[in-house]
């Protein structure tokens, strides 16, 4: 039946009423609804629409006329409709919709709006990245390239090009950065301070910078170089330019360099550069076993140690290796329970765990682990779930917990497993509540093991700060309540696991030797490089969430919604190139 409601002297704009009609049509029980002002023309429209009733005759041009087609005379439904109308009109009058961020789709527009942006951030498919990076460099922009799958030869060419222009190419495959205190890509909210970090590893930077924050220190800049920068082919171009820049940054008092061991051909050059620095430098070459320090050049064993030494140096204190001793909680394991399983979302953390275990357990180093494992030796396994093998067609484990939940259950079912190591990486870009996702699985597997007569120890590290968008305290609480032991750093988590299994690890004490002469003059960074240090505007090409992290730290982000030119149509791309260069007679 048709039900008519006339609201006297209630003028509304026709667009509002059309939107209201759409809303009413979504209500359950309403077959068809129509709301219009009661003008003669509108009454004709009610007729053509099959919704005319005799009651409409009473409606004047200033009355709002509502006709509902409903089953029977449902008083409750009619009341719902009236409430919906009131709510809708109240909503409409509030105004002030979201401003949104201005987005652009072309370089021209991006450059126009981003005149003051000195850094271009890329998170676009790797096959297109090289060309676009070149474009950005030609426009005089530093580049932060999150995209991976860029050919090594392109990386070499583009880094040389950047260097010649006095620009910095961070990446490709650069996951983390802090520029002038502003977080870029997968990065934690870290206090601004006086420690400058250069790193070839994303989670390595995250672990060190968050530990610096936890120790009361702060960071000026954390510059990612991409994982291949210290390969012989690339020659550490970005690392060297970054160190030179931090050396000349008046706010940076201490420099930390994080990397896997550099290629032999690059190693001396890099060390010479670091020796020539006027500022104390801490290096952590993961996988190397440092035996000594040099004056003003400190060699850390773990990421935690790198952070500790840096903070000591920042305070002008003498460097003391803490070597915190941990107590053995004395768990009773069933026979055969001797293995450590590490299920990491952060690649460098997995690598650090493997390195420490190899040293403590005397595992062979030379053997390449099989695909998907950082370490696989008897009962011990360390897995980087961010490896391509696990992320095919799936989001990264820092975002998607499902693969880790599955692997947790598998590891727990293995009767040799005694300890499981985990990381919970917070910060921009990461899952908003990873602890909540993992906790039920952790509880479940511990109970299941217990019912089978096995003790199962789960040790986790939260890589994050109290300023991260996730709630750090809540993450701790959730994981602790699920029966997880929380450690302050990944190094401590691994050490605790080793103690529990009766293999305590002590790091070697290192003497401070006199500085070897470098003979190198300090490199003077370009003007552009120095401008990077005060840059607060970015052109973000790709993932929108990166823009949000920047703007939440009072930076400016121009969001460039990148698409391949002409939708990827090669003929049209060529035609456009032809036209852009064409000479007319």
């Amino acid at each position: 039946m048709l039900h008519t409601i006339i609201q006297k002297n209630s003028y509304q704009d026709s667009i509002v009423l059309m939107l209201l009609t759409n809303r009413l049509n979504t209500l359950a029980g309403v077959t068809k609804a129509s709301v219009m002002m009661g003008t003669p023309a509108n009454k004709d429209i009610f007729k053509t629409g099959g919704l005319y009733t005799s009651e409409l005759e009473e409606a004047s041009s200033n009355d709002m006329a509502i006709v509902l087609q409903i089953d029977g005379k449902d008083e409750q439904l009619i009341q719902d409709v009236l409430n919906t109308i009131d709510e809708f009109l109240a909503e409409q009058s509030k105004g002030g919709n979201d401003k949104g961020t201005e987005t652009v789709k072309t370089w021209d527009k991006a450059l126009e709006l981003g005149e003051d942006a000195h850094v271009a951030i890329f998170s676009i498919p790797g096959t297109h990245a090289a060309l676009e990076i070149e474009h950005a460099l030609n426009e005089g922009k530093h580049v932060f390239c999150f995209s991976d799958n860029v050919a090594l030869k392109d990386e070499v060419r583009l880094k040389q090009m950047a260097h010649e222009k006095g620009l910095l190419l961070m990446g490709p495959d650069c996951g983390t950065g802090i520029i002038n205190g502003i977080p870029v890509a997968f990065t934690n909210a870290v206090r601004k301070g006086s420690i400058g970090v250069v790193g070839a590893s994303g989670t390595g930077i995250q672990e060190v910078t968050t530990l610096i924050h936890k120790l009361g220190g702060g960071v000026t800049n954390a510059i990612g170089t991409g994982g291949r920068d210290l390969k012989a082919e690339v020659g550490g171009i970005t690392l060297k330019d970054s160190v030179a820049t931090l050396e000349n940054d008046p706010d940076t008092k201490v420099i930390v360099v994080i990397s896997k061991p550099p290629a032999p051909s690059v190693r001396d050059e890099v060390l010479d550069l670091l020796r020539s620095s006027s500022k104390p430098v801490v290096t952590i070459f993961l996988g190397e076993e440092p035996t000594d320090h040099e004056e003003n050049l400190y060699r850390a064993y773990t990421l935690e140690e790198a952070a500790e030494i840096a903070v000591q140096l920042m305070h002008g204190k003498e460097v003391v290796e803490k070597n915190t001793s941990l107590e053995d909680p004395c768990y009773q394991f069933a026979a055969g329970q001797t293995g450590i399983k590490g299920l990491y979302s952060g690649g460098t953390l997995a690598y650090e765990a493997a390195m420490l275990m190899k040293r403590s357990l005397g595992l062979k180093d030379e053997k390449e682990a099989e695909a998907g494992f950082i370490l696989k030796d008897g009962v011990h396994e360390i897995i980087d779930l961010g490896d391509d093998i696990y992320t095919q067609g799936k989001p990264h484990p820092m975002i998607d917990p499902s693969k880790r939940q599955e692997m947790l259950a598998q590891a727990a079912d293995d009767p040799t497993t005694a300890v499981i190591l985990l990381d919970d990486v917070l910060g921009y870009g990461s899952h908003e509540n990873m602890a909540k996702e993992l906790a039920p699985t952790i509880k479940e597997i511990k109970e299941k093991a217990a019912s089978a007569g096995r003790e199962l120890v789960v040790i986790a590290t939260i890589v994050g700060t109290d300023e991260d968008p996730q709630n750090m305290a809540e993450q701790k609480k959730i994981l602790t309540e699920a029966g997880t032991i929380l450690c302050n750093s990944n190094a401590q988590a691994v050490k605790l696991a080793l103690i529990i299994l009766g293999h305590p690890l002590t790091l070697p004490e290192r003497k401070v030797l006199p500085k070897k002469s470098s003979g190198k003059a300090t490199v003077i960074p370009s003007k552009e490089m120095m401008r990077l240090l005060t840059n607060d505007a970015f052109i973000n090409i790709g993932l929108r969430s990166f823009s949000d992290a920047i703007t939440s730290h009072n930076g400016k982000a121009i969001q460039f919604d990148w698409q391949p030119v002409a939708g990827g149509n090669v003929t049209l791309q060529k035609a456009l190139q032809f036209l852009n260069k064409a000479e007319l007679n």
């Binding site: 939107l19 919709n97 949104g100 652009v104 021209d108 002409a566 035609a575 036209l579 000479e583």
Partner: protein
């Protein structure tokens, strides 16, 4: 003459800026369009099309025009003439004209005469019939035909006489500049410009000698017809764009139009050639009782307004109708207009938009940029019922198919020597 396409494009854009359309007269179409004197001829909107390809509302409009011209007494009779091919169909654009929706224009209909004084060319368009049962949406009842006669016999002559009292005709740019600051974007919303037009012509009309009964009728009609200025805007945009496309180089879009079947564009460098693709169906808000299922595909030459830089291209100028962009509000419109600047080469300083912080309207759609980015011009439009005679059922926005732009860019590249 021009070294690069960019230079040619800038020259075309400079001509758009320099264009100065004046409304001179209202006359029977056949007096200015010679082709209408050569047997049974109808003009239609969009690129060339056959009668059998036309959608129902446009066929309906053909019937209405044929009845108006007195080619037959009954619908059956004139339908026979139309289906048999006895009636010649010509795109408005081919004879310096533009037409709203179906764009059906016949010899005796009154048309506005607009001259672009910069380039000396003229353009023509029928007058707005108001709302309800109207020919442009495919209605052809007696009421519709009678109104066409009244427009020919009363409205046309009165406006003609009034315009002739003005020495150089009516300067359209001045009205556009005024109305854009009063919230018109000249496609969806013309109320300010229509009132400003009435303000200009009313004193002239009342001072006319004779036309005693007609004066009141004409002023009443103009007062009632919120969209009257749309057709003046269309003829003006056509006159300016035709002046600009005298430069036959470059990739600036010089016309966009649709015939319910195909969308067609022209670019400066390809002269009169049409590049077409299948039309889309508009998205928008519907009057009560109607939905997208009832909507007719996109039609009309009115997209000449967007080609010029107003209409959907200037969405932000008209906050009152911004919600036709979608369910959003002011900021959606702002984003739409900002996005449009990415496919245009500049902004037109003649028409600053207050709600856009006085940025000028979009100037010069570059077909290359459309292809490169995939951003399509946004066109504001009325939505017709897909059945003839049932009139307008809503309003919203529509975009051209990208094919038109891809074909145009490729053809021009080939013309300049590009081998695939």
């Amino acid at each position: 003459m021009y070294k690069t396409i960019d230079e040619a494009n800038q020259a075309v854009a400079a001509k758009i800026v320099a264009g100065s359309p004046f409304l001179l007269d209202v006359v029977p179409a056949k007096s200015v369009i010679t082709e209408l004197n050569e047997g049974k001829v109808l003009l239609h909107a969009g690129p060339p099309i056959r009668y059998d390809q036309m959608i129902d509302p446009i066929q309906g409009a053909c019937v209405g025009a044929a009845l108006f011209e007195g080619w037959g007494k009954t619908e059956e009779e004139v339908r026979q003439q139309l289906t048999s091919g006895e009636v010649k169909l010509i795109p408005c654009h081919h004879v310096d004209a533009v037409g709203p929706m179906g764009g059906i224009t016949s010899a005796n209909m009154a048309v506005l005469v607009v001259e672009n004084k910069t380039d000396g060319n003229r353009a023509y368009c029928t007058m707005n019939e108001g709302i309800g049962a109207v020919l442009r949406f495919g209605a052809y009842s007696a009421e519709v035909v009678d109104r066409l006669h009244w427009m020919k016999n009363t409205l046309g002559p009165v406006l003609s006489a009034a315009l002739k009292t003005m020495e150089n005709g009516l300067n359209v740019n001045v009205l556009v500049a005024k109305a854009i600051s009063m919230g018109d974007e000249f496609h969806q919303r013309n109320i300010a410009a229509s009132l400003a037009f009435l303000k200009e012509v009313a004193p002239a009309i009342v001072s006319l000698e004779g036309f005693e009964k007609e004066k009141q009728e004409v002023i009443q009609f103009l007062a009632d017809t919120d969209q009257f200025f749309l057709n003046i805007m269309m003829a003006s945009a056509k006159a300016v764009m035709d002046g600009a496309r005298k430069i036959q180089e470059g990739t600036i879009v010089t016309a966009m139009c649709r015939n319910g079947h195909e969308f067609g564009i022209r670019i400066a460098g390809m002269g009169d050639e049409w590049f077409t693709g299948p039309v889309n169906t508009p998205k928008g808000l519907y009057f009560s009782g109607f939905s997208e299922a009832d909507a007719s595909p996109d039609m009309g030459d009115s997209a000449i307004t967007e080609t010029f830089g107003v209409g959907g291209m200037a969405m932000i100028a008209a906050p009152a109708v911004t919600r036709f962009v979608g369910s959003g509000g002011f900021y959606d419109a702002l984003n739409t207009s900002n996005e449009m600047t990415e496919i245009c080469i500049d902004s037109n300083p003649n028409f600053p938009v207050p709600t856009w912080d006085f940025k000028g309207i979009c100037l010069g759609i570059d077909a290359r940029k459309v292809v490169e980015t995939g951003i399509l011009p946004v066109i504001n439009t009325g939505i017709a019922n897909k059945k003839a005679g049932l009139g307008q059922i809503g309003a919203g926005t529509v975009t051209p198919p990208i094919d038109c732009f891809e074909k145009a860019v490729l053809a021009y590249a080939k013309k300049l020597g590009f081998n695939e």
